[in-house]
């Protein structure tokens, strides 16, 4: 490797590339320096390095003061000590000072046992509140998706970094100074009065219980134990490759069969699959892509291209708030979860003779914005929502433990029919590029009338922020682009506004890595390898499916035959498509 620097950490030699910080250099020889504010999801654009918590201090020979390992770069011949008495005592004092105005309520805190501050308190052997200072009294808020209790904030600024640098939403940031300083939305408003998209990435990176999801587990318990109600489940593609982590499985373990069994044991009357909704999305969105392409190739200059995916509710919020002039570009197709809800409460409910008000549709999502999406008015009929509410992957794991279900020993089972059948194309919705690949598998075959020679589109896979590919459709070069994180989406939308975005189809997902990196997933605690393992699992799930194209799903074909008619037909338009609103605050 180029420019290797050799130094000594805890009497052990280590060679690392120039520009490496001491935290990473130590980690390369299995020395785990504690850090709290620092977070670096390598290979993505998520990086928070304010060097503000000072918990990672180390002793560097020749320097008078302790140095923060996260912000100190390696130098040739440097001699570093990470565990001297001075360092260990200083670290403990720093943690004790952080605790001095922290609410001492770990027992009932929703983040208990997943809290990074709590872990460090245990690790540093802090057994009493050494400094009991004034307590901060800051705003509390509960939205449909996110709860905020800034008394628990330790000012690590991770949320501010993801909200501004990564997502470019610009809602959360530091206000005031000194003891009064806090992280707050614009003008100290409530989230609902800002441009917040509810992507929840602030929750995904928060080390403490300051930012959390809105908990729906008790609401679900009430419904499950109500004999009057029929409660049905639909878990998203990304849930089955991450849920296992909560039960001690290696990241990337596929637990689809156990997931279905566990939901049944929990008391759901029927256990279906959002993947069915994903196949339906491809049918509708694919038809829309073909419709716009044919119009464009037929010389219609008014057709809006690129067509953009619309599965991700945070992305929908983002363009409604920031690009109200471009609302005609995104596909009108609802998200898979909402399509599922619309079909469950019409076609399936009628078939089963269940009145709408007795049917409760619950989605299990890797996402927090989905909680908000359920409450959008246009997704309800006479005040009764198509999807009643949503639980995150984490909430499901907690509930299973609460219900005495020993997940690891569960037998595998299949989802119920008919809305539990799905293709490999639906499975990959959970990773960035997945919806694009799924759409291409169908669009190619319908457009050309030929079978795909190679089903995988590898150019649209992977963690790169913006990916592009060109697909030969019988001599027509279809140009596609895939972006994840809203910051990358903004780059594309600014180009579109300037008339410089030359693609036909664009996929956007708000979270890093797509839904596998969603804010409702088990916490990654800054380890990007977890996201990569989940992504690999998503593609393994696809490979293991007998049907790998959405239009090949026999139950989808049946649904169109007996109920919907054609994609983009009258009934499909009514049930499976939506419209967007100008939510600009300017």
């Amino acid at each position: 490797m180029e420019n290797l620097i050799t130094l000594t950490i805890d009497n052990r030699p280590v060679s690392v590339p120039k520009g490496t910080n001491l935290l990473d250099a130590a980690a390369s020889i299995s020395i785990d320096i504690p850090a709290l504010c620092h977070m670096d999801l390598k290979g993505t654009c998520v990086k928070n390095a304010p060097a503000s918590c000072r918990l990672c201090v180390v002793e560097v020979e020749g320097r008078r003061n302790l140095a923060p390992a996260c912000a100190t770069m390696v130098a040739e011949g440097m001699v570093v000590h990470t565990n001297t008495a001075r360092v260990i005592r200083a670290r403990k004092t720093v943690a004790e000072l952080i605790l001095s105005d922290h609410p001492n309520d770990c027992l009932t805190c929703p983040k208990c046992s997943d809290c990074e501050l709590q872990r460090l308190v245990k690790r540093f052997n802090i057994r009493k509140m050494t400094y009991e200072g004034a307590q901060s009294e800051r705003k509390h808020e509960q939205t449909a998706a996110i709860t905020r209790n800034m008394d628990k904030c330790i000012l690590c600024r991770r949320c501010e970094t993801v909200c501004n640098q990564v997502q470019t939403v610009g809602v959360l940031g530091a206000v005031r100074r000194g003891f009064d300083s806090t992280i707050a939305p614009t003008f100290d408003r409530m989230f609902k009065d800002t441009d917040c998209t509810y992507c929840g990435q602030c929750v995904a990176v928060c080390p403490t219980g300051a930012l959390m999801e809105r908990d729906n587990t008790d609401r679900l318990l009430d419904d499950l134990y109500d004999p009057e109600k029929i409660v049905i489940a639909q878990p998203a593609p990304a849930v089955r490759v991450a849920l296992g982590e909560e039960f001690g499985y290696e990241p990337g373990t596929i637990v689809t069969g156990k997931l279905a069994t566990s939901l049944r044991y929990l008391g759901f009357n029927y256990v279906f699959d959002t993947d069915f909704g994903a196949d339906l999305t491809i049918m509708e969105e694919g038809a829309e892509i073909l419709h716009r392409l044919r119009a464009y190739l037929g010389g219609d200059k008014s057709v809006k291209l690129p067509i953009m995916t619309s599965c991700c509710p945070a992305w929908v919020n983002f363009f409604e708030h920031n690009y109200p002039d471009l609302l005609e570009y995104p596909s009108t197709a609802k998200s898979p979860a909402q399509m599922f809800g619309a079909i469950a409460k019409t076609y399936w409910a009628e078939k089963m003779g269940i009145p709408r008000e007795k049917l409760v549709v619950v989605s299990i999502m890797p996402c927090l914005a989905k909680k908000y999406e359920c409450g959008r008015e246009e997704f309800s009929v006479n005040g009764n929502p198509d999807v009643d509410y949503s639980l995150s992957t984490r909430e499901l794991a907690h509930l299973l433990k609460r219900a005495n279900i020993d997940f690891r020993t569960l037998p595998d089972s299949d989802f119920d029919k008919p809305m539990g059948e799905s293709s490999g194309a639906a499975a990959i919705f959970g990773a960035t590029g997945g919806v694009m690949e799924a759409a291409l598998r169908t669009v190619y075959e319908v457009y050309t009338g030929q079978t795909l020679p190679r089903i995988e589109f590898r150019d649209v896979r992977g963690l790169e922020g913006i990916k592009e590919a060109t697909i030969d459709l019988n001599g027509f070069d279809l140009k596609v682009c895939v972006a994840h994180t809203l910051g990358n989406a903004r780059i594309l939308m600014d180009k579109l506004r300037a008339g410089e975005l030359n693609y036909h189809v664009v996929e956007v997902m708000a979270c890093p890595g797509g839904c596998i990196g969603g804010a409702g997933q088990p916490y990654h605690h800054g380890n990007v390898e977890i996201l990569k393992a989940r992504t690999r699992a998503i593609y393994r799930e696809d490979e293991g499916k007998p049907v790998r194209k959405s239009h090949g799903n026999p139950d989808i074909q049946e649904l169109y035959k007996v109920f919907l008619g054609e994609p983009l037909g009258e009934r499909s338009e009514k049930l499976l498509h939506t419209h967007y609103f100008n939510k600009s605050s300017k």
């Binding site: 501004n164 610009g170 809602v171 959360l172 940031g173 530091a174 206000v175 005031r176 100074r177 939305p185 614009t186 003008f187 100290d188 300017k586």
Partner: protein, 154 residues
Amino acid sequence: MKVSCEALRQVEAICEKFNNDPGELITILHETQNTLGYLPEEVQAVIARCLGIPAQKVYGVVTFYSFFSMVPKGKYPVSVCLGTACYVRGSDKVLEEFKRVLGIEVGEATPDGKFSLDCLRCVGACGLAPVATIGERVYGRLNPSDIKKIIDEY
């Protein structure tokens, strides 16, 4: 209180004068406050739009510096120094007396808009401690018993 359209045009002109450069945010806030007397939300939102930055950023800066104010100041803004030198020489009692005489709390203005009351940390006249300023004028070696007389001058 609603900011007039004319005032918002003035704010846009100030941003324009500094080429709508986000690096000039503090200078722009200074000049805007000098012009309008304060920096309400609508004004901050206009500045954010002109500079192409989130309103949250502007709000963060406005709330960080005690010089910036989101409420209108009185015609005669009173500031009592609570810096170390003034404090040990009894400026807390001076502040209490201003509150009593004006009948307002820190950060407020009198109903007639004549006076507003704030605290600050050091005006660089520690030799005259305790110190208060009214507008541009500095009053030193203050005693709580002086306050009524000073206010009556205005």
